[in-house]
Symmetry: D3
Subunit: 246 residues, 6 copies
């Protein structure tokens, strides 16, 4: 059940039997010469819809732009500051808690969002209590990172080994190829790619990772593998969501 | 050209001949018993894509959640506070101006966003100058509200007269029916519907507009009309965008 | 009844029969070679006092500095950022609602304030509810722009036609001449004046409107016309205020 | 020279020989049964105008509402939060420094503003440097509290002794009587009035100072004394301003 | 009783008989060629511990970094912006009031903190009321500046006369020598030292006070004098704290 | 070399050969019936000093209060909100970068700080670039969590097995016993202790972890073990710091 395709009365009915909601969150950032800028949002949204179908859960619209400041030296990246993203998450949860939601399951497609999401959850628990919302003390948030699912991680290791890397990975590129087969990109990739250098500011990132990839070889990706990742992630996160509700 | 389906190198190429971008912005809010909660985002996104195709412009991911605090007494509404939305817009434009964009055309599906967007533009012009971005003085923002296009307005008047109302209107419902024909909703609508009362806070709004509609009769909507609105809006806003670039 | 010339006990008495208050808001910004920098505040304050007398309403001190970032490339302009003005309005209304006021009628002299005021109202409705003020749900705000009163607009059209323009207009200059006859300014005005260009940032504004006027010919203004505008605006806004209270 | 009665070109001329400006700041707060709510703003504004005349200095519009949170349990008080007032001051000074002002002399009528003003100055010095304004390093702010002028203090002691108190004092009431002789208030005053209790929150303040006065007997005030205070304050602060400029 | 060396159950017991707490606050800023960068925090912490022992009061961990923006042109200074320090103080008091504390006695070692602390107190009184904490209306804050104790001031005058100065003073240096005898510094001091110039921004400060001292001769300091200051300050502030509790 | 025991001239000298600094950060929060409220700050500070000695690095004063909102239902906890802590970290790094520091190594004693610290680093990299600090692009931050050092983790496993738990652990209690042997606490501990439940808001936390421990048995701790942990952590983090500098 997709929130944006529902009416408020359908949501009211939904709330009579569940107070959980799935919120997909991605990022709009460079993903190397062949990765889509929307990769993280595309993956999170597709998997969230799959989990929503599998668990009869309501799925909110996707937060398309996340915390990607370190990618902003590349054209096309859009990023919120961490403090902005914290306000956004706080506003989402405040709106929804006001009408009875209590369990927020963020399906996340971007590693760079994790720290800020966790900070936002802490800020939000205190905020809903401060404004004395009736269900404040029942509010619970959880992040489900599809790319960190153990089954996903295992498959990526099997398929790509070290060439999975940590940004613009073949696994995420494969997933976008499965979702958008018409948007598969071709571009020359240097065989050697930087890896292992920590992430600091945007200029520093681009200097050390000049084409945007971090140790990855996205040329290995295929749409068929993308489908495998999709199915594994949906299965594992559906399980997580159901456990979270209990 | 959709940003989320592009690579950063494609965006770099785009920037060599254009510094304009279209940003769809909607809202996630109740739209009466038969209107989709995502109506404003759905309409803005579809029209933005149409304008992007017609003008070869880059289209960013949609800002799905806008300023809808007055609808938050209805289940399913999610709203940013105005100050949060201002930060979000500022962060978007700061990210994009840093790499060379200068012209921001927001295609908007929600009346409630307009004031905050305008406030955000003022805040942003000053901010990009304060942080001394090279192109700060060239930054320009404009809002194109599809529902206020003169051709759209005229058609809505012809088709629905007074029953167009001002929220959960047949014109916007028709447009969502055209875009999502599988999500056409049926629900009983009272023949009499409140209208003309100003918008204040959320409780007050719900008290005066108990089913969420403001003077509208969305039962008049058809997908065919939706297509007409779509085409008119795309045509008129494409023209606006091209004028804006000059 | 002017708040700054009242005692707290007089306000307490006032609150026993009315919970409305008029808040004049202007701007401190360039108004061309012959317009006073305080024009918008002067006009708003004078009209607010007139409305207060006509309706027995309490009038607060004037917010002299508003949102005029686009005028800050001219000496003498002072502007709040939109987010600052939102905080100011929120603080005003919170203070006053705490002791029993509920109806806030802003008499505004500056077009550039409108968007931010509307954003501020939305932010404030949510805020007073969040902090659980007893009368939170009764709080209502309205903007009355004197220069947009239909009678004012009609007279300006009659008197000045196209030379009314949209900033440093003869109508507002006339009004300040009526209020401050000793501060009527003379300066050479070019016959041709820029008009029709949209408002973006401060540098861009000054570049396109080098002497600060927007399509206006303030040399047409007379104090007598100012008085006419004053009387029309007071009459029309008094009516609006009384309707707002009901 | 009053900013609100000047044109931008007059300000430009002024800036060719001075970069100083006087900013009156008051408060809108209860002043006991006979004191005007606008007392602090009225006094600051009148004295600032006097100083402006005496020193040929430019005087900005008055900040009418200051930091008076501790008075908000009395009807009619309007207060900014300290953090809001800091933003306001920062915005004022940023606007003015951008066009060449560097010396900001705040003539203050309210003890409760002092701490926040000083905090605002520190915040602002860093801010104008952070945004790299050309004259950032020359920006200097000073507060001149008229009621703390030594000549004023001495006269108040002579005239009223212990009955001067520390809020709703006969000296400030006298000054408003001189400025607004038509707004002299009569109300019964208990002979005994609380004093010496520190200021904490609003409820606590009203509980300890039930009629709003702090140890004062404003019944002693006369307009003639008000004139004396006015003249002493103008003289002493004019001297301070001229020293500040050097 | 030191908070950081206590268990939560011990604090629970403490709260059964007292709701007061002492919060030391200092600064991390240059103190001239021979003064320790931590001087203000070191002094505040030592005296706070002494007062805690003398009065059986709970002492919180020290706020080591305060408002020292004007010292940031010297290496080693760390400063919070005033608005940040206000948030910090608000968060401290909110946390502690939530579990039952109501009386906050800040023992302060830095003049530059005073204004911001007072602003923070006002902000906080309103905040704890806004979020409806049960004990909101009992919250009281006070600053005890050890260097402004009358006994301390008198001794400093006796020992150093005009050479006490106002920053990097022999009295505070003496106190740090008593507390950290192993960290007594030697460095050449020019006999003449700037004094009397007001504090504005950081660059301006360093330009006028090139070695960081303000009119002081810290070479006069001895550890024995430090002990005297320590004992006087502990005695006087212990008295103040006990009076504050009543 | 401890910053608070240094002079600014010593820091200037230090900067001629190193631009790195170690910043200890802890928390002030309940640590079960026998753990000190200052545990996390105490441990971080002691280890930071050890690392500073081992590597000749400068060590800043400790951030004693961190992000511990989930512990605020227990008396004695003090927490910053995540957004406050982000501002604090931003202010620290901005102050220090202004004078030439570039490498910030946070030695952290509290798991709850990690997410907010990472968010703060991202915010700060962008901020120092926005304000155009000369060394902005060289700024780098890293967190070293002593309790996650592999050698520490291994020893804790060997000594305590499952009874290490995840809060109020015997390893951290042991370390505080080594540092403050006079503050070793005795209190009855239930043999069974809750574990495995995720962390949400403060009320929820206390409900699930009624005595504050999370799966730990701190009764196993001894000062001798504390010394072992100290030495392991100092060694491992010294190595990390030196690698970070390169």
């Amino acid at each position: 059940m997709l929130l944006h395709l529902s009416t408020w009365q359908e949501v009211e009915t939904y709330l009579s039997h569940s107070s959980g909601i799935i919120i997909p969150i991605g990022s709009t950032e460079q993903h190397g010469p062949t990765g889509l800028i929307g990769t993280d949002a595309i993956c999170a949204e597709a998997i969230a819809k799959g989990v929503g179908e599998a668990t009869q859960a309501l799925v909110s619209p996707t937060i398309n732009v996340g915390m990607a400041l370190h990618h902003t030296a590349f054209p096309g990246t859009i990023s919120l500051k961490p403090t902005t993203l914290i306000q956004v998450v706080k506003d989402y949860i405040t709106s929804l808690t006001r009408v009875g939601f209590t369990h927020y399951f963020f399906i996340n497609g971007h590693g760079g969002n994790i720290a800020t999401l966790k900070a936002a959850f802490s800020e939000t628990y205190a905020h809903v209590a401060d404004i004395n919302l009736p269900k404040a003390y029942q509010v619970k948030c959880q992040v489900g990172n599809w790319f960190m699912c153990s089954s996903v991680y295992k498959l990526a290791k099997e398929l790509y080994g070290d060439q999975e890397g940590s940004h613009a990975t073949p696994s995420e590129v494969a997933l976008t190829q499965y979702i958008y087969p018409d948007a598969i990109k071709q571009a020359p990739l240097t065989p050697e790619v930087a890896k292992g250098y920590p992430i600091y500011g945007a200029q520093d990132f681009r200097q050390h990772y000049p084409d945007g990839r971090m140790g990855s070889n996205p040329a290995l990706a295929t749409p068929e593998q993308g489908q495998q990742f999709y199915e594994l992630a949906v299965k594992e996160l559906s399980q997580s969501y159901l456990e979270f509700l209990q």
